[in-house]
Each structure stands twice: as structure tokens, then as C-alpha cells.
Amino acid sequence: MLTLLLILLPLLSGFILLLTGSKNARQIALVLSLIEFGLALFALSTLKSGALETLNYNMPWIPNMGISFRLGMDGISMLMVLLSTMLMPLIVYASFNKTYNNAHTLYALMMLMQSAMIGSFVAMDGFLFYIFWEVSLIPIFFIILMWGGENRQKTTFKFFIYTLFGSLFMLVALIYLYLHTANHSFDIQALYAAGRSLPLVEQGLIMGAFFLAFAIKMPVFPFHTWQPSTYVAAPTPGVMLLGGVMSKMATYGLIRWVLPMVPDGVHEYGYLIIGLSVVSIIYASCIAIIQKDFKYLIAYASIAHMGLISAGIFAMNMQSLQGSLMEMMSHGINTVGLFFAYDIIYNRMHTSEMTKLGGIRGVESRFAFLFFIIVLSNVALPFTNGFIGEFLLILGVFQTNMVAASFAGLSIILGAVYMLRAFQKMMLGETNSLTLHFPKLEKQEIITLSIIVILIVVMGVYPKPILEITESSIQTLLQGIQ
């Protein structure tokens, strides 16, 4: 019931927001998203107390096709739900520095998206997962289309078609598995059983079909070209949702729907994906180095990080999976942080072209300080959350594939190159005529950045509570595979 509530509340919130109109929309959205976060924390305490049944929900939906509205949560789902419910109020609060037209519609769409994303994290029925996966696209489509910047029509269209195209492969794979289930059911366990009974090559194909859908959404090379332009066109709250939460639907999907479904296929062909992911890391890091616009840089940096996560998932061991989940958390938080820093700069300077900036630290040192910690986490410095994830990922991938891990490790060098370059260009050096009048940060901006920075440091110094959430679920998952 609790799990159902987690989906329904944001849905309800969306409708409330639509009804109340623009006035105080953002305050209402903030309160509602905080309630949702509280609910997620309650679910966490339930999970910790071991009362798993209360988190399950099952109702027949289209019984003659074996489709049921089945929800459930283990540690992995829980972590994803926590991530999205925690980021939501933060994203809403971060948007307080700007007034959007038709704000209530914007926030309503964000809530609807939240609902669908949580749905995809807790769905335990293949068909249901697919529905949530697709539905989540619609709100973000409208968010970018209505509040986006230049070229939004073209980019949104490309983004929409591209992801939809990928999803079709997943749908085909799901139906194929469905046809192989004992008594035609989309139930997750039935699909697992069906997948595992398939011959090796077919398992590999299923893996490939799922991966295609997920790889586009994460994204990894060479399925990433929709992403930078979409990130640039999207309004800040939209891009935060996209980069912070939505990309995690894909990596979560790999853990939930691919590894346990076709384990032999992953064992046999997983190295191909690890290889592709490592290529993606280096490729995107290199391109990030020469970006002139900070938002593009964040986009490519994001591809690099997602590549590492993807490699970790396919390495399929305790460290790599724990690392990938930790990195998903960190990446979510840090991406929101980076985009917020971008937002702060762009709102003031009306440009994010890095060579036009410079010397901001001399004008607003508090911003420079907070921003720099977010940068450090992206560079994976120990005692930031970014380090925990990257270290475990490299350690884990290393045990499966030493060469891949060593190449993936290059990201700690390249990451330092592009991140420090960017920071230097924008924040250090002499102030110029533009940055000389960089307005001081508002209180709301300081608070938002501080929350992110505190999360970065606390998670980096004491990651144990987070690692504990997923530990036993990953163990179960790995045992099921072997």
C-alpha cells in the first residue's frame, strides 16, 4: 500500500497544482514534494524493520494477458525512490530563483514525471514497468517544449523519437520473454524464469535489446547524441530531472530487468557492453575537455559518469554493483548541483560560454567555494560522495576485467582536466567587464548549494548507511544469478 501511495501522491500533487493555478504554485509544490520525501523515508524505515510485505502491492490488471499491477520494493528500488524523492524538493526549491510562466503547469508536470519515475522503480511487472517508462517521457517532453530555450522543438522531437525508438526494442524483448513464460505472464519472476531458460544466444539478444533502450536513456556512446542538445535546450528544472533522476531509470533498469533476467547472456556477452562503456567514458571525457559552453561540458561529463556506472553493472560483482548504485546517488545529486551552478551563472551573466567568464571567485567567493566542492566531487576526491562510487566501480570492474578498469580509471585524470579547466576559466583569474558585476548570491541559492554540498561531504565521509540499504538486495541478486 505504501508503495502505491508513493506513486499516487505525486500524481495527486500534480492535479492539485493544476487546480490551484499559478499563485503560490512553487510553495505548494515544495510542500507536496517534501511530504513525498517524508513518505519515502517512512518506507525506508519500514524496509529496515524488515516488514517487506507492507511494501508489496498486487492487483490484477489485465488478467487474461497475465498483466498485474504489481509493485514492490527492495533495497535497490528503495535507493532509487529515495534519490528521486530527495531530489524533487531540491529541484523545486532551486527553481525559486526564477518565475516561470504557467508555473503551476510546470510543477504539475514535474510531479507527474515523478510519479511515473517512481512507478518504474517499483514496478514488478514487465508490462507495468514499460508503461511507467514510456509515460515518464510525456511530462518531460512538454516541459522542454514549453519552457525550453532555443531550438527546443527540434531537439525535443529528436529526444522523444530517439528514446521511443529504443523503448520499442525493449517492448519486443519483453513480449518475446512473455511468450516464453510458463503460463503467459508479465510477472517479474515469471519473466526471470523465462529469460534464464533461453539459450545463450537468445539471452544475449534479449540483453542487447534491453541495453539499447537503456543505453539511449543513460546515455552511453554511441547513443548519446540527443543528450547534449536536449540538455542545452531544456529549462533548468527539466534538465535536473533528466540528468539527475531520469537517467537512473535506465541504469536501474539494467540491474532490475537485465542482470537477473538473462544472467548467462550477461556472463557471456557482458564484456562487449563493458568495452562500449569504457569507450564511452574516454570518448565523452575527451570531448568534455574542449567544450566551450559549460552546459555542454556537464552533458559530456555526465555521459562519462554514466559509462562508468554501466560498466560497473555489467561487471556483476558486489563492489561494482554497490559502486554503481552509490554513483547513481552521487551523480544525481552532483548533476543537480552542477546544473544549479550553471543556472546561477547563466541567470546573472546571460551566457555560459566559459571564455567570456572568469574571476567570479574574486567577486563572489562563497559561490566559488560551494561550487568548487561540487566540482571536486565530480573529480572524485576522497571524502566526497563521488569518490565512493567511482572507487568501488573501478575496484569492482577490475575484478571482472582488469584492462577495462584500468582504462576506465583514466577518467580520474581526464575528469580532473576538464573540470578544473572549466572551473578556472569561469571562476579564477582576473575579473572582466562582464563578471565584475556578478551579483551576490540570494539566500535561497546559498541554501540550495549548501544542501548539495553537505550531502556530498556527508555521503563521502560516511557512506555506510547508504551502502547498507542496498547491500542485502545486491547479495540476493548475485546469489540468484550464480
Partner: protein, 632 residues
């Protein structure tokens, strides 16, 4: 005892937090006092812990909290105090405190003084974590943490992009080494299932494990790559001279006395592994001696007071690696300690000179500072004698130990080491005479401005000079010690961790080497005196420089330019090609192509959708027919 150990890094962390959080609400002097107290308390605490370690060998392990646990991987944030770490604790907090004290005067007119002390405190914290950690991962926290602080302090004056570039270069170069460290950790965990020293270095553990020598060699090689980065060895040394862009106390603390010795600490800490891998050991000594030579040669021709000291540091670190490479771990650590004293002294002395000269760093325009800065002069002389290896100053003992160990191992290594020592004596006295002797060659304004530094700056100089003079007595060579009835206390103290060097040379040979070295060094000094004092020789200005080798060495053999051409620029070019040559035309081009194709097909398909029901009916019938055919 456990609480005391936990407190050692906590003090500077707390003072960092206070200064960072209070920031402008603290007055500048108050911030400085808080920073100094933080380190002083840590020093006192370390001294107590050190004292207890002196009495008997009893390593203390302290677990602070669980850090990263994932499956069978478990790395807790915990500390280990044993003779090795306790010596580093004393050096870090002791020298650290003196440099903090010096900075109070040095930085008092700088707007960023609070910031400066905050970073300095944070640096001490991370450095302490580095040496205190009881597993590789905690060492790595400190390792990266000090790199970060170094980055912040090199780029301390961030308005000048030259400093920022130097800072970034240091960070990225260190990161290259860090990747080696990271891979080494992966290998260790993969092969031994643990990163804890107590597990890995327990007697016989490595020898009894089924891990092959090749794998162990790979591990130590990767670790050494990490050490190359942090301790500025070939090929990752070019960041250190550039790091002089930071304030001078930073150069003294981070880029001479403490952080750059982290690589030596790491190898000494993992000596059990290194001793099992002779190939890596050979590499360590080769890289060490090559770096020592290169640093010394470049040092001969530099005219910037801090650059000379920087290359001297590179060179001395090289000598320490030579010692490590021949298995003389104690000698290396001994040299770390004495070097920390005299190099910190020399850097702070140069800081005092730069302070008096109003920021000038070129020794060609100095001269005759002896009278105006008597305390700086005297202490600098002690430091110079110590680094040159004149008995009975500290540098003599540690350098002698390294040279005699090298001699026992390989005569060529010894000869090159001796050459390095001679060059060291020459460039140091060149620096010394040009700065303090002769007549003043600067501007009138500068001459008018010349003054001795205040007490809080000279006091650290004096204390360090005393240490640089007498610290060597804790490590008497056996040949001298036997005669006087004195033991090599240093070696005895460290022996449970580092073992005792097995190489022994005959007493007569050792006496002869000692005598030979000393006589040659004295001759070099006299020659330098002849050249720079009697003949008043001053190096020519940059544009008048003659001799191609001189130009080459003055230009640091253009290694930076080479790296730039071979690594930095190609990286940018490759990146640009990936974006403009692949990402946009090929990868995205394919996506666009598919889009266009679909559009094309759609326009064909549109023609079919005529809206004429008749066509539809016919198509429908045909389709059904086809289906039938297909299924039958």
C-alpha cells in the same frame, strides 16, 4: 592512548573548521592564532604518542569509523601508530608548526590570510591522515587530500592565471600517479582480498601467498608510479618547480618538507612488498638517481632563488629513492627527516629574503644581504652546510648513509650519487654567495627597504637551524658510533618496521668514502667561493646567455615544452577530432540519416494513404490473401 591518536589529526581539522566557518568574523591575527594552536596541540599530542613508542615497540591500531564496506571489501577509517608513522607525525606537526608560525609574519599583509591558514590546517590534517592510515585506502584519502590542498595553495593568488595553471598542472600530474596507486590498490585487493597493512604485512603473509612475483612486481610498480607523481620523480617531476607559484611557506611545508616525501613514506610503508620485487627496486634506484642528477644539473643554472631550491628538492628526493631502491629504507626515512629540517629552513630563509626584497626572487639582483639580514644569513648558512653534507650537520649523516649503502650495492650508483652531492654543494653555495655576499645589485628602493624579519619569522629559522645542525646525531654511522660508544638510535627505533640494512662495507672503506666525499665537497665549496666571492662572478642576464648546454639546462631541458607537444596538445587535437570528426558527422550523422530515411519512407507511405476507400478495400483483400498463403 587510542584517544590521543584520534586527536592528532582532529586538532588541525577543528582549527580548519573554525577558520573556514567563521571566516570574516574572525580577525586576521585571531585566525592565525587558532591555526597555530591547532597544529601546536597536535604536535604536543604527537610528542606524547612518540614518547610512548620510543619506550617499546608496540604498534597501536585505532578504528575511528567504518568507511567503505561492500561485500567482502572492508576499509575502515582507522589509524596505525608505529615507529615509522610516529616519526612522520613528529616531522609534520613539528615543522608544520614552525612554518605556521613563520607564516603569521609572512602573510600578515595578505587579504587572504584566513583562507591561507584554513588550507594550511587542512593540509596538516590530510598529511596526518596519510601517514596515520592503517590501510591503503586511508593513505589514499590523505594522498589525494594533500594534493587538493597543494592545488589550493599553489593557486592561492588565483587572480593570476599563471598560478592557476601551475596548480592545475600539479593536480593533473599527481592524478596520473594516483591512477597508478588506484590500480595498485585494485591489484592488492584482487590478489590478497584486503587493503589492511596488518593483514598484508603480517610476517610471512606475502611470502606464503600463492601470488606470483610478476604480480607483486606489477603491484609495486603501480605503487611506485603513484610515488613518482607525489614525490616528483622522472617523468612526473615538472609540476614541482612550477608549484613555487604558491606563497613561500607553502613551498617550505608542502613542496619540500612533507607532502613530497609521501612517496618515500609509501614505499617505506610497503617495504615488505618492495623487498620481494627486485625488478621494481632496480627501477626505483634508476629513476631515483636519474632524477637526482637531472634536478642537480638544472639547479646549477637557475637564477630564481625558489627554483634552485625546488630543483634541489627534486634532486634530494631522487637520492631518497636511490636509498629505497637499494633497500636502505631507514636511510631514506632518515634523509626525509633531516631534509625536512634543512630544506624547510632554506625555504623559509628564502622567504625571509624575498620578504626583505619586496617580492624579488632573482639572485642576480641580490647580493650583500649578509649585513642587513644577519639571522637569516646565519641560519641559511647552516642550512646550506647541512644540505651540502658538511659534518657534523644533519645532512652529512643521512647523505653519508645513503652513499655508503649505494656503494655496497653498486659502485656506479655511488659515483653518480657522489656527483649529485658535489653539484648540490656547488649550486647551494652559488645561491648562498650570490644572495648574501658581495655587494647589493638591486634597485635603490629595494636596498632602502631591506630589513631583517620580525621575531616570529626568525624564531622558526633558529629552531630549524638547530635541528638541521644536530638532528643527525640520532643516526650515527656504525663506524663513528662504535668509537664513541653511540648507537644508531634512528635505525634501532625503525628496525621493527623497516628492518636493518643487510649491506655492510668494511669500516676502513667506509671511513675512506666519508673522508673522500667530505674533502671533495669542501673543495667544491671553495671553488664556488673563489668564483662568486673572490671573482665576483654574476650569472649573465637571460638574453646574454652563452653556451648551448647552459641554455638547455637553464631552459630545464625544455621538458615542459616537450610534454606540451606530445601530451597536452595531442589530447586537445584528439578531442577536437572526436567531436568535429566523429561525434557530429558520424555518430549523430547516422541518427540524422535514419531520421531522414524515415521521413522519406513516410512520404512514400503517404502516397499510399490516398483516402480513397476503394484502394483500401483492395489492399485489405490482398493482405488477407497474403496472410492465408502465409499460414497455409
Amino acid at each position: 592512548m587510542e584517544q590521543l591518536v584520534k586527536l592528532i589529526p582532529l586538532f588541525p581539522l577543528i582549527s580548519f573548521a573554525i577558520i573556514a566557518l567563521m571566516n570574516r568574523r574572525l580577525s586576521k591575527p585571531l585566525a592565525a592564532v587558532i591555526a597555530c594552536i591547532g597544529v601546536l596541540l597536535s604536535f604536543i599530542d604527537s610528542a606524547v604518542v612518540f614518547q610512548s613508542q620510543l619506550q617499546s615497540f608496540h604498534p597501536v591500531e585505532v578504528k575511528v569509523f567504518d568507511w567503505i564496506i561492500a561485500g567482502d571489501f572492508n576499509a575502515s577509517f582507522s589509524f596505525l601508530v608505529d615507529p615509522l608513522s610516529s616519526i612522520f607525525l613528529m616531522v609534520i606537526t613539528g615543522v608544520g608548526f614552525l612554518i605556521h608560525l613563520f607564516s603569521v609574519g609572512y602573510m600578515k599583509d595578505d587579504d587572504g590570510m584566513r583562507r591561507f591558514f584554513a588550507y594550511l590546517n587542512l593540509f596538516i590534517f590530510f598529511m596526518l591522515v596519510l601517514v596515520l592510515g592503517n590501510n591503503f585506502l586511508v593513505m589514499f584519502i590523505g594522498w589525494e587530500g594533500v594534493g587538493f590542498c597543494s592545488f589550493m595553495l599553489i593557486g592561492f593568488w588565483y587572480k593570476d592565471n599563471k598560478n592557476n595553471d601551475a596548480a592545475k598542472k600539479a593536480f593533473v600530474m599527481n592524478r596520473i600517479g594516483d591512477l597508478g596507486f588506484l590500480i595498485a590498490m585494485c591489484l592488492i585487493f584482487f590478489n590478497f582480498g584486503s587493503l589492511n597493512y596488518s593483514t598484508l604485512f603480517s610476517p610471512g603473509f606475502l611470502a606464503e601467498s600463492s601470488v606470483s612475483t610478476e604480480t607483486l612486481t606489477l603491484i609495486t610498480f603501480c605503487l611506485f608510479v603513484g610515488a613518482m607523481g607525489k614525490s616528483a620523480q622522472i617523468p612526473l617531476y615538472t609540476w614541482l618547480p612550477d608549484a613555487m607559484a604558491g606563497p613561500t611557506p607553502v613551498s617550505a611545508l608542502i613542496h619540500a618538507a612533507t607532502m613530497v616525501t609521501a612517496g618515500i613514506y609509501m614505499v617505506a610503508r610497503t617495504n615488505v612488498m618492495f623487498s620481494l620485487t627486485p625488478d621494481t627496486m632496480t627501477l626505483v634506484s634508476i629513476i631515483g638517481i636519474a632524477t637526482a642528477l637531472l634536478g642537480a644539473v638544472i639547479g646549477l643554472f637557475q637564477n630564481d632563488i625558489k627554483k634552485v631550491l625546488a630543483y634541489s628538492t627534486v634532486s634530494q628526493l631522487g637520492l631518497m629513492f636511490v636509498a629505497l631502491g637499494v633497500g636502505a629504507y631507514t636511510a631514506a626515512v632518515f634523509h626525509v627527516v633531516t631534509h625536512a629540517f634543512f630544506k624547510a629552513l632554506l625555504f623559509l630563509g628564502s622567504g625571509s629574503v624575498i620578504h626583505a626584497m619586496g617580492g624579488e626572487q632573482d639572485i642576480r639582483v641580490m647580493g650583500g644581504l649578509k649585513k642587513k639580514l644577519p639571522i637569516t644569513y646565519l641560519t641559511f648558512l647552516i642550512g646550506t652546510l647541512a644540505i651540502s653534507g658538511i659534518p657534523p650537520l644533519a645532512g652529512f649523516f643521512s647523505k653519508d648513509q645513503i652513499l655508503s649503502e649505494a656503494f655496497a650495492h653498486n659502485k656506479i650508483l655511488f659515483a653518480l650519487g657522489l656527483l649529485v652531492s658535489l653539484m648540490t654543494a656547488f649550486y647551494m653555495f652559488r645561491l648562498f654567495f650570490l644572495t648574501f655576499h658581495g655587494s647589493f645589485r638591486g634597485t635603490h628602493d629595494q636596498e632602502h627597504h631591506l630589513h631583517e624579519s620580525p621575531l616570529n619569522m626568525t624564531l622558526p629559522l633558529i629552531v630549524l637551524a638547530v635541528c638541521a645542525a644536530f638532528a643527525g646525531f640520532v643516526g650515527f654511522p656504525h663506524v663513528i658510533g662504535q668509537g664513541l660508544g653511540l648507537h644508531n638510535l634512528f635505525e634501532a627505533y625503525l628496525s621493527p618496521v623497516l628492518g636493518v640494512s643487510s649491506s655492510h662495507i668494511e669500516a676502513s672503506v667506509e671511513w675512506m668514502l666519508m673522508g673522500l666525499t667530505t674533502v671533495l665537497i669542501v673543495m667544491v665549496i671553495l671553488y664556488a667561493r673563489h668564483l662568486f666571492v673572490s671573482k665576483n662572478y654574476v650569472p649573465e642576464s637571460d638574453s646574454h646567455m652563452k653556451g648551448s648546454f647552459k641554455k638547455l639546462a637553464y631552459g630545464k631541458f625544455y621538458v615542459d615544452e616537450f610534454y606540451n607537444k606530445v601530451f597536452t596538445q595531442p589530447l586537445d587535437k584528439v578531442s577536437l577530432f572526436l567531436e568535429k570528426g566523429i561525434d557530429i558527422p558520424v555518430v549523430d550523422g547516422m541518427v540524422r540519416g535514419i531520421g531522414k530515411l524515415t521521413q522519406g519512407l513516410a512520404s512514400i507511405a503517404r502516397k499510399i494513404q490516398t483516402g480513397n476507400t476503394g484502394y483500401y478495400a483492395i489492399a485489405f483483400v490482398f493482405a488477407i490473401l497474403l496472410l492465408f498463403i502465409f499460414f497455409i
